[in-house]
């Protein structure tokens, strides 16, 4: 890790610009992960399901080692890990698999309004099949109200799905408390941990989690691989979505992609070893970024709780400056906007709206994500350029002008368009 901590970028061929500040979208593969994967593309190419020769055996051994590495990261048993193509498939399988298996007795699902699209869309799909879904609201800080969760659970509820960490605002849900409530009420608890695994300590037993989705490319592993933890005691049963050779305990047929799995395993092992130091370092960078912006720009607001948040995420509203216009002004920064002006809908982020962030502020937000290869130089560069762009755009913003003149923007009758 020390070499990674160095202030100069260590990734070979990494272009200096644009500065990558979008670690919640994806992460680069750690070079150590790539090294671990390489032999499994060429000389160790065997099908891990081939039982009759050493090519198959060495692949199987690599897969099983990786399965253990994934399990260890979350305190699970390796028999409880199923490999999938990523967190989207894991979330689909968990929700649809459990809902379908228990449908004769239970037809109710609980999730949260700020979940990732693949959870919300799976739920919408289940609604079309006749399931009932409760979408819990969140509080202003982005966290679920546990009393509302308790009140929503009925004897018809089969599964509660609540993400560990939100992809836009980085807030950490009270997972252990949610797990305890679900276990007490006899309801399965699934958590989408794509943004949490490897970033914060997770223990499926201590937190009473029954199913957990993990993504490779969010933790410096390859894209196209993920995992689903499925508890064995008490046993969670699911209907498979992909049928075939019966791999992965019948839950997910298809030849396992050995190199990707080796990469995911290595990424988990590295994360487990370095999580503590990395979190500490990222928190320092995150604070440097936010404090740097706050020192030079008035009227900026953090979306989501600051303390109950992963260290590598900021989501900031820069009042009076539209997010997409701002992104164009910081061309040398790779960031993402909470404004959905790029889509035809003109709707700002549904996550920010669920927090109760007013629409005009939701349109002014940027997500700034830091990660393993972020440096102090990156942060200082970002502060300088964001401050410059916001200042320039505010000077041409009619809303900023009104605010400076003391005109309340809400007092104006705006026409819809």
């Amino acid at each position: 890790m020390n070499s990674m901590n160095n202030s100069s970028p260590t990734l070979e061929n990494r272009p200096k610009l644009p500065v990558y500040l979008d670690y919640q979208a994806t992460t680069p593969c750690d070079p150590r992960v790539v090294q671990a994967m390489l032999p499994y593309f060429t000389e160790k190419f065997g099908n891990p399901h081939s039982r009759n020769h050493s090519y198959g055996w060495e692949s199987e051994e690599a897969v099983e080692k990786a399965r253990k590495q994934v399990a260890d990261l979350i305190g699970a048993d390796e028999k409880e890990i199923i490999f999938t193509s990523g967190a989207t498939e894991s979330n689909n399988l968990a929700l649809k698999g459990v809902a379908h298996f228990y449908k004769d007795r239970k037809d109710h699902i609980i999730t949260v309004a700020t979940e990732h699209k693949c959870v919300l869309d799976s739920c919408r799909h289940l609604e079309l099949e006749g399931f009932k879904v409760t979408y819990l609201p969140v509080q202003q800080n982005g966290l679920v109200d546990l009393e509302q969760l308790k009140a929503a659970i009925t004897d018809k509820t089969s599964i509660v799905s609540i993400m560990s960490v939100n992809n836009e605002i980085g807030v950490i849900q009270p997972i252990a408390e949610i797990g305890a409530i679900c276990r007490e009420r006899g309801v399965f608890f699934h958590t989408d941990a794509a943004q949490a695994a490897g970033k914060i300590p997770l223990d499926v037993n201590a937190m009473k989690i029954d199913l957990m989705s993990i993504s490779g490319h969010k933790i410096y592993g390859p894209k196209g691989i993920g995992a689903l933890f499925v508890r064995r005691k008490p046993r969670v049963r699911m209907e498979a979505m992909i049928h075939g050779g019966g791999q992965e305990r019948g839950f997910r047929s298809g030849t396992l992609p050995t190199p990707l799995i080796v990469g995911l395993g290595e990424a988990c092992a590295i994360a487990q070893k370095e999580m503590g130091a990395e979190a500490e370092r990222l928190k320092g960078l995150r604070d440097r970024l936010f404090n740097g912006l706050k020192a030079k720009l008035p009227d900026i607001y953090l979306n989501g709780d600051l303390d109950r948040r992963i260290p590598g995420n900021l989501n900031v509203s820069f009042a009076y400056v539209e997010g997409e216009g701002l992104m164009m002004g910081v061309k040398d920064l790779a960031v993402s906007s909470g404004s959905a002006c790029t889509s035809a809908s003109l709707e700002p982020s549904y996550v920010l709206r669920a927090l109760g962030v007013e629409e005009e502020l939701a349109h002014t937000s940027l997500r700034l994500g830091l990660g393993r290869f972020s440096t102090e130089q990156d942060v200082d560069y970002a502060v300088e350029h964001i401050v410059e762009a916001v200042t320039r755009l505010r000077a041409m913003s009619p809303l900023w002008e009104m605010a400076q003149e003391g005109i309340d923007i809400k007092s104006i009758e705006w026409a819809d368009h």
């Binding site: 539209e322 003109l346 700002p348 041409m396 705006w414």
Partner: protein
């Protein structure tokens, strides 16, 4: 999204950013859009004694396409009579900047802003002047 060079130029070097005093003689102000929709344009014209738009200014809260559309609009209205300026179509703005389909609304807003500024000018100024313009045409 790939933007045209003309659009990027207007975003990087916007023309005529600023404000006129609203109640100054000859000034018409158009304020269109809404903060909740992510676009607000303020476009102002200053009409000279000859009835032509002598100067124009804008301020815009919005994406790059909205900023470029309003910047272009201020360029185009200058030197035109109100009747000529009124004829500027959003499609011309969209075409000039090569706006992608999801950004057409930005050009619509710019056209609305021009019309709103002209309307405001006419409301504030004696009807004889605008009817005089018409007679001259």
């Amino acid at each position: 999204m790939a933007y045209s060079e003309k659009l990027l130029d207007h975003y990087d070097n916007p023309r005529n950013v600023g404000s006129f005093e609203k109640n100054e003689g000859g000034v018409g102000t158009g304020l269109v859009g809404a903060p909740a929709c992510g676009d607000v344009m303020k476009l102002q014209i200053k009409v000279g004694a000859d009835g032509r738009i002598a100067d124009a200014k804008f301020k815009t809260f919005g994406c790059g396409s909205a900023i470029a559309s309003s910047s272009l609009a201020t360029e185009w209205v200058k030197g035109k009579t109100l009747e000529e300026a009124e004829k500027i179509k959003n499609t011309e703005i969209a075409q000039h900047l090569s706006l992608p389909p999801v950004k057409i609304h930005c050009s619509v807003l710019a056209e609305d802003a021009i019309k709103a500024a002209i309307k405001d000018f006419r409301t504030k100024n004696e009807p004889s002047k605008s009817s005089g313009d018409k007679a001259a045409e």
